[in-house]
Symmetry: C2
Subunit: 287 residues, 2 copies
């Protein structure tokens, strides 16, 4: 039997639905929901594959454009509770673009040297250069999330950080880097199931960290810290998007479309040749 | 009509055929040949896709294993004339593995600071850490290739470098990093066609560099410099493989299999849990 031609994929433009605006309430976001997408997992996976090329083409243009001096770059900041799927985003969304055009940085607990500087010091060093897509797996937001929840920094200093972050990001944006901040939002129950899987499978044990269970006792505190960070740092220069992430496939297509949206908005152009094309054709023919 | 089930893919183990051993003659390698592969482009592309998962699984094991202290790493060195397809290898072979487990470095002409140090100084800083796959797009071999061909370094100093490279690589290998050196071998005619395409398409102009045509006048000198480098630095600790690359699909499956071979030889193991799995299950259930 011939396979039926795949039905057309539904339109999907999640940016407006996921953006954190004034009055945003994290508790009101259902982690299992799929805002703006009128389809299920199969359609989602087809969409992800179908849009790979669009993302990849836009990235190539962005990179090419920088060769003729354009300053545009993109910074994707990923924040989430453990197991929310940051790694899957990196692999399944970012994985489709030219590795040379991506600067990926996973931020761990700060080292002694990093702690001896301001909290933005280590971040600034990893910002993407012109033409690049930077991907931060965790970021300076840890400094107002875990630091707040676990009381590792005095409250007055945490308070100052929101303003410092907004100034820092505004400066980056003014330099030509579009900042896209994504919180992958999972439920406490979904996290439990994902941790359970890591315990059940010997080939997943290496991903399990007993500290992850400790953090579950602070779940509500983390949600509260996220709520504050989202409220205070979702700016026009560097907006936050909260992506429901209990369904991995949804989180992936949502981040993919957010990235495509930012790149399409830059609308990067192929550089005009800085050499005489016809003359080069003659030289090549003679070579 | 039902699509016929795809026929089984031919076996393909190119390492022995491509390895540079004593008596190797670069001029005798046909860049359009497909050593060891009894199939065409379609089968090649199917094989590439089919083996993605194997490569990806082995990489995950390598990465996981390093978390429990194993030192093993892999370094893939890619050298070639311009347009030979290094970028395509990075994208289509390496692109299938977890980006977090790959350290990609493209070496350009050395900066003033780099020139003020020994030629291996900038290389050493980019070596892959435990669990990582390092990919060098160009390398310290430029220092015995372009430097030799263009006479940028005195001949006596070039002569010394082969020995320095062998010592350097032996030390790296002894530290647990498997070194896989690949020359992508294209013909002068194939390069001409690829450069022609870059001139014919406005969206490819940015990849064209008039210097590439200048280099064509030195084609034979480059081949000679490669021959010497291959002869003198293909060691047990860090063997060279010459991969015919006029057919891009062949070069990709060949490098993919070479990488799989090295990883399979390491045979990385999932780390044993350093926590009490049953106790963690109880803690998780209670959380």
């Amino acid at each position: 039997m011939a396979a039926a031609p795949a039905p057309p994929l539904p339109d999907f433009e999640p940016a407006g639905l996921l953006r954190v605006r004034q009055g945003f309430d994290l508790a009101a976001v259902d982690p299992r929901s799929t805002p703006g997408f009128d389809g299920g997992k199969d359609e989602g996976e087809r969409l992800l594959a179908a849009e790979d090329e669009e993302l990849s083409d836009l990235q190539e243009r962005l990179f090419a454009q920088s060769r003729s001096g354009a300053r545009d770059a993109v910074l994707l900041v990923l924040q989430a509770m453990d197991t929310a799927g940051k790694g899957g985003i990196v692999r399944h969304v970012i994985g489709s673009v030219e590795p040379q055009g991506v600067h990926h940085k996973a931020f761990k607990a700060p080292t002694a040297e990093e702690r001896s500087h301001g909290f933005l010091w280590r971040i600034e060093k990893e910002l993407p250069g012109p033409g690049m897509i930077g991907v931060f797996d965790r970021s300076h937001y840890e400094d107002v999330l875990v630091q707040r929840v676990r009381g590792l920094t005095p409250p007055a200093e945490i308070e100052q950080r929101y303003g410092l972050i907004n100034e820092f990001e505004a400066k980056i944006a003014a330099g030509g880097t579009r900042i896209l901040k994504v919180m992958l939002h999972i439920s406490k129950q979904e996290q439990k199931e994902r941790l359970q899987e890591r315990l059940d499978r010997a080939d997943k044990h290496w991903k399990y960290n007993p500290g992850d269970v400790n953090d579950r006792a602070y779940w509500d505190d983390y949600q509260h810290a996220y709520q504050i960070a989202l409220e205070r740092t979702s700016t026009d220069a560097a907006p936050w998007f909260v992506v429901p992430a209990d369904r991995k496939w949804y989180a992936r297509i949502a981040v993919q479309q957010l990235l495509i949206g930012v790149l399409a908005d830059i609308d990067p152009q192929w550089p005009v040749a800085d050499f005489d094309v016809e003359r080069e054709k003659l030289r090549l023919a003679a070579s």
